[in-house]
Symmetry: C3
Subunit: 256 residues, 3 copies
């Protein structure tokens, strides 16, 4: 069994480690993390160093490749870039939890992780360095571009296209044939009934564009520190989440 490293040791890192252990295709030699000291452990695996130390680590631990376990799409991209600057031919492996269902005609590229209960249906195609999280599904003929992500329980109908770096957050539903633009974020619990353009934040039932968004803006909740960006707060809490029915709609139906 080849030795690999897991790059990232946060909560998402623990989930990826669990999937690798369950898949039993690779042996985890340790963890690469920029923000944690060498020797810090994650589910029993030691932090071996940061990306800059990879050449040494590869030699010392006979490393075949690595799994990227960083939840934020932009940060994951930057770390992959940094690794390739140091080790140009570094081999990124695909991780698929054994309970995930990947159709025979679907394709999942290198560096992508597919987590417990996730489903990738017939003829779907998932690019490099994506995340298909817990119970998320991409139905038939769907496409996920590089560095895009589905949070837990996201459901995409058939022929949905997720452009590179787009992030669809927890529990969002996307109906058949919709496209989500590059670097766009779809908020948790949203119902997407129309295409979402590039570089926006959209949410609600049905989802609507709330504002524009620059690549790299944070969109995940940060809870271990006190610094939460204004953007994150705006996305996740007080924001309006539904549009109102015209008053006369309810009058037409006896029990509405």
């Amino acid at each position: 069994m080849h030795n690999i490293v897991v790059i990232g040791s946060s909560g998402h890192g623990r989930v990826v480690i669990d999937a690798i252990e369950r898949e039993a295709r690779f042996h985890i030699a340790g963890v690469i993390d920029t923000f944690k000291p060498v020797g810090h452990t994650c589910l029993g695996y030691q932090v071996l160093g940061d990306e800059l130390r990879l050449p040494d680590i590869i030699r010392n631990y006979d490393i075949y490749g690595g799994a990227v376990a960083i939840g934020d799409n932009w940060l994951r991209h930057k770390v992959v870039d940094r690794i390739r600057a140091v080790v140009p031919d570094f081999r990124f492996v695909t991780v698929t939890h054994p309970s995930a269902q990947i159709a025979g005609s679907a394709r999942v590229a290198a560096g992508t992780v597919v987590l417990p209960g996730a489903i990738v249906a017939a003829n779907a195609e998932i690019g490099e360095f994506c995340i298909v999280s817990t119970k998320a599904s991409l139905d038939h003929d769907g496409v996920m571009g590089t560095f895009s992500s589905f949070a837990p329980a996201v459901t995409a109908g058939g022929e949905v296209t997720i452009k590179p770096f787009a992030a669809v957050l927890l529990g969002a539903n996307i109906i058949h044939s919709i496209s989500i633009g590059e670097h766009s974020v779809v908020g948790a619990g949203s119902l997407v009934l129309r295409d979402v353009p590039d570089r926006v934040v959209a949410y609600g039932l049905p989802a609507r564009v709330i504002r524009t968004r620059q690549p790299g803006e944070p969109y995940l909740r940060v809870n271990s520190g006190s610094v939460v960006s204004r953007e994150t707060v705006a996305l996740e809490d007080g924001s309006p989440h539904a549009r109102c029915a015209p008053a006369n709609v309810s009058a037409q139906f006896p029990w509405a």
Copy 2:
């Protein structure tokens, strides 16, 4: 292993083909499709002809039966009728993806397909020619009538009754003990808290009846052509999707 045909070669057809391959209970001899030319392929399987050619096809390919892979409930019904007119004793098989969980005390009738990650709980009963799509679930003691369907990620609580031809669309949630009427459609992302009568379109959070509906009206998004019925559009996009809280509700709670 018996030879079967798959009737329908759209995206839903690809999903059904994948489930049949994974189940490995039948060998697919080819595809029956009215709208595609003979020789056209679907995931590598050839279109052998339309329903009218079934008697020849059965003879030539030693066909044991067939799986219906048509997503629209009414169209599926019409095709089944047409097949029975030509081959009265045609054998419709049940397809169950191996990842689907069907309780020992549940029953699933002929012609029904149960897709990846779907769950049919204890004592539930699913009639002929239904679809339980990706990650959809019917909980304990539930009933689905003939030609009804759950789109991906639909969740029905215990003792829910889905009447014949009813369609519940992507991501809808139906609480315990609810009934959905014949030929009714529940819109994507809806939360159903009260019974839905026959022959209506209902959606929203909570779902309310939006309008009446005639059997056979289209309800699925058509994306390969330019002809999208007015009804489909009304169902899927601009429609009001939520009712407003009275203004004074939020005043009662400090963080509402």
Copy 3:
């Protein structure tokens, strides 16, 4: 294989029985139920008596322990208390449907049931006597306190804390790092973006506190009789479920 009893014979009881049969770790000797006569059957298993008869039943049937199959958190607590009063060292078993995915680093305590398609992610911890129902998931580092419950299709992001006796109802989504208070109830289909305090009912998109709640107040739909408490009705139907977007939000986006 040890003999066990199943305590409770309602619809939830049938689901638990199915999981035990599928898990094939125990043999079900019969059912304990206070409200059904001895000899009444549930999925073929006989009611052997109520909790008071447990000492006799344990002796007569060589009972190793039991699985609690009562859906209401408070009632489940009362029944466990009653059993412990009669048989202080009664052994409560954990039930895990084989399709459920429990991470190697997760812990699930005695008396808890984890149903089909449910997922308990890395480093999560589930206390005694919880329910993780059909397709529900608790993501990495999550915590569920004793006697808490997830209804079908509930999704909790990473680092979510569910306090004891809290009930999260069908299809609710809880984003990363949220806490749900003791004895609180989160309504079906809700999207929880902020912490929910103790002893309240909260629901909507996003969820807001609707009212306070006393421990033991009914929250599940009762459908086999005519007595439905006012609280249950209030929770499940006509209640406002969404807050309105300010009128000027939609004006900013061409297709909102």
